[in-house]
Symmetry: C2
Subunit: 324 residues, 2 copies
Amino acid sequence: MSKSRPAWIGIDLGGTKIFGVVLRGDEVTAEAKRKTPVGTGPDRVVETIAGVVEDLGGLHAAGGVGVGAPGAVDHERGTVRRAPNLPGFDEEVGLAALLSKSLGGAEVRLDNDVNAGVLAEHRMGAGQGARDLLGVWVGTGVGGGVVLDGVVRRGPTGIAGEIGHTVVHPGGRICGCGFPGHLEAYAGRGSMEREARDRHARGTATLLVDLADGDRGSARGPGRMTSGVWAKALAGGDAVAEELIDDAVAALGAAVVSAATLLDLSTVVIGGGLGDKLGPSFAGRIEQAARDAFYIRGSSLRVVSAQLGDRAGAIGAALMAADR
Amino acid sequence: MSKSRPAWIGIDLGGTKIFGVVLRGDEVTAEAKRKTPVGTGPDRVVETIAGVVEDLGGLHAAGGVGVGAPGAVDHERGTVRRAPNLPGFDEEVGLAALLSKSLGGAEVRLDNDVNAGVLAEHRMGAGQGARDLLGVWVGTGVGGGVVLDGVVRRGPTGIAGEIGHTVVHPGGRICGCGFPGHLEAYAGRGSMEREARDRHARGTATLLVDLADGDRGSARGPGRMTSGVWAKALAGGDAVAEELIDDAVAALGAAVVSAATLLDLSTVVIGGGLGDKLGPSFAGRIEQAARDAFYIRGSSLRVVSAQLGDRAGAIGAALMAADR
């Protein structure tokens, strides 16, 4: 850690917390977080991000700020819209400009949070050394990001990388977005939970529901079917969990091999809450499923687990700021 | 047509013919073709290409030569291997170097024939004005090419664009490559013919077989189920043809929407023998199938017919030569 190397602040704007890091070279030298203010609109969110920047030592020690945000981000214009879990961010919000103003005119770069996470894995994590990288973030939904020849592909409307909404079963399960057959409908934890609860309601016992709802009893309503619950149910040999994870692996394998074929990729990183929790064995199963359908025999396609955990988004945001 | 603009020679190396053009600016000023010598190996093929170059007026009038070849092409090294329908090109052949030598040291650029065709449609055909373009070539097999930010994506091993081997139905119909569920197994004319003949053999009457085999009688064996046969059977309301084309459209729609989502594409061109024969109505049906599964509502995704026909490959090869 050398004070002579420039430092950059990276912020991961999440639905529950705003997490920030100071990145100096490839070292995280400070971390801070605050709760995301809910239901109070963009101004309070901007104020809270500025607070996290202050917690990190303020801007005098950093060259600039990068922010990773959920939703549809226009990287060039610094705007975000359709951000799930961020009330007030349905319509387009000029987040980069608002934050810049709040920080006294500092330069602010904005990108999709998954793009930021994938960039971090490419530069400093599981994708180091790869020229091209596909990142698949498996959490409540399924997000993704594509790095081609070292550069994040954003695309003219900013949706590039959204592998969760690629089609793996034409006419199949309805995705949260309303359309049929998308990867997210098979591999997103939200869809998998709906499927598990449906089966439970139809009389199939499953540890998933027992573990999620615990001894709450029906009066308190359902609990959270977290990634940890999925891991425990799998460890306990639960048939419903195994079957749904098998479906997820098959769907992820299909999406991965299709992307790898179309773009000639050799490295894929699996991250996100569920991806991180299930770890290398999950990534390995996806690799096998992809190879089983890959027309290049003896391919060197690797599917590996992300290494940076939930700090990836903030680290990637700092890298974006440094890339200006 | 101005003699002051430089001219480039483009060659499309096919399994039955070698077709060449002289491209000056965006005008084709000469065309020539010879039959591809079969069963005699790379040297005779090189000699025949050199003959076509001679037919086109020779190299003194052109700045260089581009060649589009089937199979796995290494653009950087100028080699081709695994070329279907070109005996002697299974193992790697240094085609660019051999041809250059045969042409007295002229510069020769080599690329995959479909990449060349897609580049031509991007610059001078249906994809003009688009920043990014996916081309899907529907013929005996299904090939493809991707242009991102104006540049053909080749990828480190040269397979980029091979959308025919992306997965549309995990575990589904076996592709010619031996793996299950690929687009080509549903939309390649070879696979579709196998499927039609299977159904015919199991007792389902179809114009496809009647038209293909004509009055040959069983003694002469099956005839060719050409793109024209498919068009006629569809026009005649043949149920098997309609069903198989419906399957092809659904599979193409799924592959197209997945690629458009992953890369944030707005323009897709459908070419190839069958694609050209079935024309704009086929492209329109693929567009509708893609939009029906696209998570961006009101998207401006366009799927259009190729405009350059079977000259696209040679024109694109000339453009590659000019791009050196």
